[in-house]
């Protein structure tokens, strides 16, 4: 139970927020954006934080899901849930196809390859106007039907996204403490040692890549139905970098770190928007300051610092979790 204590706390918080602030824009509207970003960050953290890889193309899978839902529902009248499945199939397939060749790469080369992949996908979104509506994007994506009605209001969306987020977090925490999760983290620690202990590192990396792509694709479908409008700009290289930033900002390798990073990075522009001309500048400065003073990430750094204080009080060495 101790293992999931943080999760239950988080779940209660997520559930209480809209009860406490039912009509607050920051909860029901921005909350949905944050939730979707958090799902993405948690999924990316599986690949980056656990397995120690890097992807600058995560937004592409988000986009594949969104466009699959958008295109199939508006142009071919496919049922939204079927469209979502098709998106998952497409993302999973693409991820599985590119995983083996690309994941042989390391460090900056891997960053480049994933970046290139993301850009290619984005270019297709822009250029294949007939299907995607080109740079202006596509409108009129229907709302998601659920239990005989369609999810329409902000509050309903909050609920849906919250459930998916909680599920994703739960999954991520489960993986951390498992045979497969440790194998991934071993890849992070020393790929060679992992291999000599019987871990098929190529398969492990590829599996987690596909899993994180699937989650991103699912989030993309939700996003498409929630916004009812999508355009390539939302799935470009900047957003991929933003996702990486969320993961690192919160604390690489930590699930709640990823959530935290998503919250901060999504909320910051909403808050800074009052600064007008200074918004960009301040945003950059805040990002730098956090990383300078909490290089482990906001969440992990704070937790460590707190633990350090406790430890110093007790003057006893501490054991860690992740």
């Amino acid at each position: 139970m101790k293992r999931l204590a943080g999760f239950y706390l988080f779940a209660v918080l997520v559930a209480l927020l809209p009860v406490a602030f039912p009509h607050n824009y920051f909860v029901t509207v921005v909350g949905v954006t944050i939730g979707i970003n958090a799902i993405l960050a948690v999924s990316l953290n599986l690949f980056m934080g656990y397995a120690g890889q890097i992807s600058l193309g995560h937004a592409a899978f988000f986009g594949v899901g969104a466009y699959a839902s958008g295109i199939l529902t508006t142009r071919y009248g496919v049922d939204p849930w079927l469209a979502m499945l098709a998106g998952l199939a497409a993302s999973g397939l693409v991820a599985a196809l590119i995983a083996r060749p690309i994941l042989r790469l390391h460090g900056h080369y891997l960053a480049m390859a994933t970046l290139g992949f993301g850009i290619i996908v984005n270019i297709v979104m822009v250029e294949a106007e007939g299907l995607t509506g080109g740079p202006d994007g596509m409108t009129g994506i229907p709302p998601l039907p659920l239990l005989g009605r369609s999810i329409d209001t902000d509050l309903e969306w909050y609920a849906v996204v919250a459930v998916v987020l909680l599920f994703t977090v739960w999954v991520s925490l489960n993986i951390f403490d498992s045979r497969a999760g440790r194998a991934l983290r071993a890849v992070h620690g020393s790929e060679i040692a992992a291999r000599t202990l019987g871990v098929d590192t190529a398969a492990a990396k590829s599996n987690v890549f596909v899993l994180s792509a699937l989650i991103a694709s699912f989030a993309g479908s939700l996003f498409a139905h929630q916004q009812s409008f999508i355009s390539p700009g939302s799935f470009g290289f900047f957003f991929s970098i933003e996702l990486v930033t969320m993961v690192v900002l919160g604390g690489l390798g930590s699930t709640f770190g990823a959530v935290f990073g998503a919250v901060v990075l999504s909320l910051l522009p909403e808050v800074l928007v009052v600064l007008e001309d200074y918004e960009v500048l301040v945003f950059g400065a805040v990002l730098m300051l956090i990383m300078i003073f909490l290089p482990q990430g906001l969440f992990v750094g704070t937790v460590r610092a707190l633990r350090g204080i406790v430890a110093r009080r007790a003057e006893a060495p501490v054991a860690g979790e992740g």
């Binding site: 740079p135 994007g137 409008f229 700009g233 960009v280």
Partner: protein, 356 residues
């Protein structure tokens, strides 16, 4: 009295900032001025604006924020077509009149109950250009365009419209908006039998296309779109800009208009006011002017802050003389401009000259 809350989501930063920036300045300038004079019928105007950073995704949340949190009476804004299209479902759903400042025809075609727009459409620009080409006897045109929404939509409209004017598109090249060199595309165009080149784009692209064409020694007539209708283009393209033609709103040549032109006083007034405060005007700021005053006049006529009544009055706008032309809206036409709103200009000696 309750203030009139005008909401706005603009691309003040990001790639489309050169559009959003003058739009915001224009709105702020007039809102301040009106408030200084005591508002409209005792109602002060409150301008609530958010910057979407040229990201359509952000625009969606901001428009919700305007509607839910700020409870605005009317929305003037949406700088890019993408952002405007993204905002439409929210405005429609909540029933808030929304005057877009973006170019795409898709915003008002098909007509949506709550959605209007002020800028000319790309289709009108293409039509204006083809009209001029037909007059000059040009039959074969090489098209080159950027990769943005504006560019692509312009390209699509041009391709669709060309046959109507008996024009054949013999090349269809594109470039990326941040590309630094277009000689490869122009070299391909040079190898065709095109009689003129048409470039749809904005930002640095058109200036580079213009310069590269000269570098390659291409001396075909070069047409640009209204996307470059600012002095900046002449400055960037330098001598290479000589002879370039483009359709533009009358604002650019306000002083050169005949005195009997109904738009002239409006244009001169806007131009003087804006330039006194911020420097050279652009037509984009003008769209914001048009949007703001169409909204304010509608509110005035409605004599109420009821959103539905405001909407109805916007739809009844007739003979409104704006910077973009004379607007005559109707239930079938939520733009209300015709081709005459565009003027064909040519760059001569580093300045605009009216062609007609």
């Amino acid at each position: 009295a309750e203030p009139i809350r005008i909401g706005s989501v603009l691309s003040v930063t990001g790639p489309a900032s050169f559009l959003g920036d003058p739009e915001l300045k224009t709105l702020q300038m007039y809102v301040d001025e009106i408030n200084a004079k005591g508002g409209i019928d005792g109602h002060k105007i409150e301008l609530i604006h958010y910057d979407d950073g040229s990201d359509a995704k952000k625009a969606v949340n901001f428009v919700k924020r305007l509607i839910q949190r700020d409870k605005v009476h009317v929305i003037v804004g949406g700088t890019t077509s993408g952002a405007s299209l993204a905002m439409i479902p929210e405005a429609e759903g909540a029933g808030v009149p929304f005057i877009s400042l973006a170019g795409s025809v898709k915003i008002v075609e098909p007509v949506k109950k709550w959605v209007f727009k002020t800028p000319h459409t790309d289709k009108m620009a293409a039509a204006k250009i083809f009209e001029d080409m037909r007059r000059r006897g040009i039959k074969k045109v090489a098209l080159i365009s950027g990769s943005g929404g504006f560019d692509k939509s312009g390209r699509a409209e041009s391709l669709a419209l060309a046959p109507e004017y008996g024009i054949e598109i013999v090349a269809d090249e594109t470039y990326n908006n941040k590309d630094t060199d277009m000689t490869a595309q122009l070299t391909r165009i040079r190898a065709t039998d095109a009689e003129a080149i048409l470039n749809f784009g904005f930002g640095t692209g058109p200036a580079i296309v213009t310069k590269n064409a000269r570098q390659l020694g291409i001396d075909l007539p070069l047409y640009q779109s209204h996307g470059v209708a600012s002095k900046k283009f002449i400055e960037l393209a330098g001598e290479a800009a000589e002879g370039v033609r483009l359709p533009a709103a009358a604002l650019l040549v306000a002083e050169k208009l005949p005195d009997n032109d109904p738009q002239k006083p409006v244009l001169l007034a806007y131009k003087r006011k804006y330039e006194a405060k911020y420097g050279p005007v652009s037509t984009f700021g003008g769209h914001a002017y048009d949007g703001l005053f169409i909204a304010l006049e509608a509110i005035d006529r409605a004599n109420s802050l009821d959103r539905a009544k405001i909407r109805d009055e916007i739809e009844r706008t007739r003979g409104f003389v704006g910077t973009g032309g004379v607007f005559n809206m109707s239930p079938e036409d939520h733009l209300g401009l015709d081709l005459s709103a565009f003027r064909m200009l040519e760059i001569r000696n580093g300045d605009w000259v009216l062609v007609e």
